[in-house]
Amino acid sequence: MAKAKKPQHSIIIIREEEEQMTGGSCCGTFSGDFREFDGDAVFAERRQMILSTGSIYRRLMEEYKDYAEIDVVDPRNLPYLIPRLIRDTRKYKVPIWESLRTIFGYRLPTIICDGRIIATGNQMDWHFIYKRLRDQITV
């Protein structure tokens, strides 16, 4: 069987996981088991962000699954996130100023494609994102 071709592009969605991570250690993890209390989330604002980026993730998968590697990363996962952003900006030859903007300028949540910020903070609108991605990824 022929090996599937590796996608040429890289898309990273930066958003927090729902639970507490660093410091919550032991008890922070109870939230994983007891999330849906009376239909509410324990960490409601995080849940809202996850739901909104979730719909964008699904659209991205529909449109770009075969062309881009799509990852969701928590900003608290520093040992992975920072080296990955540096690697992407170098791999896709992003100019230095734009690289600095990618590494230092993202808000929560953010979508980064090939080392460049596509949408960040309150720009999480699918039409806006799709328009920006069309310029970057040829399908």
Partner: protein, 549 residues
Amino acid sequence: MSGLLIVGVCIALFLIAYVTYGSYIVKQLDLDDNRKTPAHTEQDGVDYVPTKSPVLLGHHFASIAGASPIVGPITAAVFGWIPALIWIVLGNIFIGAVHDITALVASVRHKGKSIGMIIQDSIGVSGKKLFNLFAWLTLVLIVAAFLIITANTFVAEPAAGTASLLFIIVAVLYGFFVYRRNVPTLPATIIGIVALFACIAVGLAFPISLSQSTWVLLMMVYIVIASIAPVWILLQPRDYLNSFLLYSLMIGAVVGLVLTNPTIQFSGFSGFKTDLGYLFPVLFVTIACGAVSGFHSLVASGTTSKQLNKESDAKLLGYGAMLIEGLLAVIALITAAMLIPADYSNLMKNGGPVALFSAGVGQFMTTLGIPLAIGKSFSALVVSAFALTTLDTATRLGRFIFAEYFDQEAKETGKAAPSVLTNKWVGTVATAGAGGLLALSGQWAAIWPIFGSANQLLGAIALLAVSVWLAKMGKSNWYTKYPMYFMFAVTFTALVTLVWGNLTKGNYLISIFGVALLILSVLLGSLANKSLKNIAVGRNSGKSQKTTA
């Protein structure tokens, strides 16, 4: 003996275990990358997201590492560093890491269901209800233990007290600018980290000296407010800033340890009986996180199982991440073992394990050119920040569990739950109040082993659920069953001796918690035993039917 040599030997043992026993467990669990994980079958971009193993390792490790793998080993060093080290290494390899990987795989094979749901599937609805009760009691113990630990740290290191109060303000400002004013994350973080060091400087210049009980009362008020407030104000920003602190502390401690290469001065073995109690079972419940931790089953089945990209990744995430945490526990143990026994006793009496750890790491950091006072305050601030986050989170979750319990009861009886019992303030004050009352008893050394027992009991229950599941599948389960028997034996013995010990000393409140946990463990154990017997009967009758046919 060289501390660095011990760390080196432990790393080698963990690597060998990962390659050998870890691979054996993988084979037993029949991990197969052709079998699609829930991250793919249930993929929704919200909870179920296929995630590469390096990404998921970062998430998983940050979720399991914290103050507990530091506090436990330092406290247990009282038995001597050799038994503590042996338990960390063997406990990790044969129980802790096995517990984590099997809980993860069991959850994956149950469509990413949490271990609570798996328990319900295996031992019925009563098991789930008891599990809820157990969770609330454990959270109260967590609140009590960390209230005293933090208060003791602030009494011993008043600079850390000031810095921690200021850090709360920094976190609130960070939350406001990042989550409400849309300021980019990293510049805000850099300013936050600079402000954090400014907090340490202000703390050193203006230390706040208060008594232990005053700190406990202040923090009780604080956690009630913090756990009711929206998460973006405090919990979310502080958790984010904590991630920088966690990795800074780990890098500082490891690099400092390598450069310092401390000599072990503490006694290798101090005897079978110490102030904490008998080596068996107390050592095994004092070092919970760092050797085996039941809470990890919640991380594994809560988030990680829903994001596992392929089954073979479970080895790195379940087995490997636990071994990394074991290494953190070994480093914490070294900070105690490099002291002479008199200094150890003195630091434990005046400040407790966090102050001792801070003094040790502060000493390591001097080799990096960081003045001892700053290194000490920084380490104390970091572990206190973890402890404060733990307090906020525990109280918040306690409130939700409290309300849900009464809601469930009401649903079963068909009547509406009294609004007073589901009110958020009532649940919060009940959780913080119960924890605070325990904390005001000042018996930190008595509370920690009971909290450890609760953690280990959860581990035993998770191993039990997994053993039942493996038996149902008709698979060999000796590698989870024997650790489960051991963990139940440890937990029962610990709770009986701790309850008896506290009763004779007149610590009635702590004893009540111990008795409640003991009753819960007996009930859960008997439910599970019944379930296992039913499976055995079912399998035997199946065999006899086949023979008859």
